[in-house]
Symmetry: C2
Subunit: 325 residues, 2 copies
């Protein structure tokens, strides 16, 4: 591959000048530009980003750590993040922690070693301390780490309240919540708190199930639902903490021939686009996934540029009525 030296040689100027043209710094005559650009064209020259990054101490790379890209919610989120990063001249280094502590630690290490300009953390298997050691612009999704690391989340409590209220208003009298493990330090647990609060306020019977600490295991969802219907065959309302869990619930109901929404109502959370693929389409609490992705990138960029950023970003949710309620 041709280097800046080759371009300089061909254009009959110094590398400094080529660099200046490349970065549009200082005064540059039209004639000079034409000459240099011409040489670049001829050589099919592309500046080496590795060298640039090293020299400037800035890689223009953002690291993203999430549990699984293959999970529809994170897949959509990652898509928007990449898109927004791209529009801002940034690249995306993708890491799947698979909710494995050592993998997540490795990934953080690797991203630091790669001198990424910032890290978007969507996986949270480690203790707060581990994230404090990062010493890089960080933004967290769905977890508050400390007072000086910005975080983004949807309005989990409100979403949980909306969902629970809807079920009760629609006549459900025996509610179940299925969500993530309570020991995970994530803000989405607020959904569960809201569920309990509202159910108690309204005096409605309720129970709660949760996944293993290594959530996102599709097989497990099936087992949980089986357990639910075994122990409480008369549940008539399910608030699932994700649309995927809700879809499993829907399927489980249909398999035991309980009509949805007549016999039992289901509401999910997230608002993944696949929810409308189910039959009936799943009622859900929609998080603004695209906005979350954009904001995450923006918060990294602001920090990179040394600008102050707000620490708390609670984005509004919206009830999206489908056919399961």
């Amino acid at each position: 591959m041709p280097t800046i030296k080759d371009v300089a040689l061909k254009a009959g100027v110094s590398v400094t000048t080529v660099s200046r043209v490349l970065n549009n710094r200082g005064y540059l005559s039209e004639e000079l530009k034409v000459k240099v650009y011409g040489a670049m064209e001829e050589l099919n020259y592309r500046p080496n980003e590795l060298a640039r990054s090293l020299s400037r101490s800035k890689s223009n790379i953002i690291g993203l750590i999430i549990p699984h890209v293959s999970h529809p919610f994170f897949g959509e989120l990652a898509g928007h993040i990449e898109d927004h990063a791209y529009r801002n001249g940034y690249k995306l280094l993708l890491c799947n922690s698979q909710l494995d502590k050592s993998k997540e630690m490795d990934h953080i290490d690797m991203l630091r070693a790669s001198r990424v300009d910032g890290i978007i953390m969507g996986s949270h298997t480690l203790e707060v301390e581990a994230y404090h050691q990062i010493h890089l612009p960080v933004v967290t999704f769905d977890r508050k780490l400390s007072d000086n690391i910005p975080y983004i989340c949807s309005d989990n409590y409100h979403g949980g309240a909306l969902a629970t209220t809807l079920l009760i208003d629609k006549g459900c009298r025996k509610l179940a919540h299925i969500g993530g493990h309570p020991h995970l330090n994530v803000l989405s647990l607020e959904r569960h708190r809201a569920f309990k609060d509202i159910a108690e306020q309204r005096g409605v019977w309720h129970t709660s199930l949760h996944t293993d600490i290594n959530g996102f295991n599709f097989q497990e969802y099936g087992r949980l639902l089986e357990q639910l219907f075994r122990e409480h065959p008369d549940v008539d309302g399910i608030f699932a903490s994700s649309d995927i869990i809700a879809a499993f619930a829907l399927k489980a109901c249909q398999e035991i021939e309980r009509r949805v929404p007549e016999d039992i109502k289901i509401i999910g959370y997230d608002g993944i686009s696949l929810r409308s693929l189910m039959m009936p389409s799943i009622t859900t609490i929609r998080q603004p996934i695209e906005e979350i992705g954009k904001l995450a990138v923006d918060l990294i960029l602001e920090q990179v540029e040394g600008n102050p950023v707000a620490m708390e970003h609670v984005l509004p949710v919206e009830l999206e009525v489908g056919g399961t309620t």
Copy 2:
């Protein structure tokens, strides 16, 4: 951040020695190792991968270009690719082309400028020539570019034949195929060819619909199905070129109250894990997604190491019977 110099200073040796310890080159006394590792530990030193990459002319980064990570098939594929890359000490730079020519071109350019060690191409909006200019290890998924760029695909023709045969054997007499745009240069079009061949061989009526050239638009799938049922209300078998399309077909049937599989049978393609979430779960032709991902990474690595690789990699598909047939 501490550099190799700081480590050298603290350990009381030269940078060369530190580098040697770092890379485990040559003879190193236990005592020395302890000393150097100790210094690294104390300083919380991590070698700067940018500098290493520049120096070695090797970034240990693989670029991946796909249409959308948010599409379940590509999401799963990307997950496996990242995982396998990680196990081999490689990082993944993710690019979503969104089937936009200029975006795809930009991404290729960017990956080259970033000196990635190789590119896995899963998006194919450009002409063959564009890919030839890459001059880097490349492996293609589902498209044959030339005789010297390795490609991976599932046994599309066989899969298409299996699917069509199943529908006919199960008694369907009026078949429809829904797939990607015929002008896209992708091997998955073989599924359609097989569909037509088999239907004709068996003397069964058949028709074909296809998406826009910018496929993967979920809204469009709905329109296509509406069109299908309007023009051919008596179709009794649908071969969809992806599980997502199949899911849309299933939903469309249920909405117009045609029973699946009694009145109309549906079979998809891909074998995404979400297919089992549908009710009934979707019968499909399963591609070995994990294997495809691994192989893609391996083919890049082999090329990076200068080893010869086979050009054609047709992976077997498998009929996965669900409830829609």
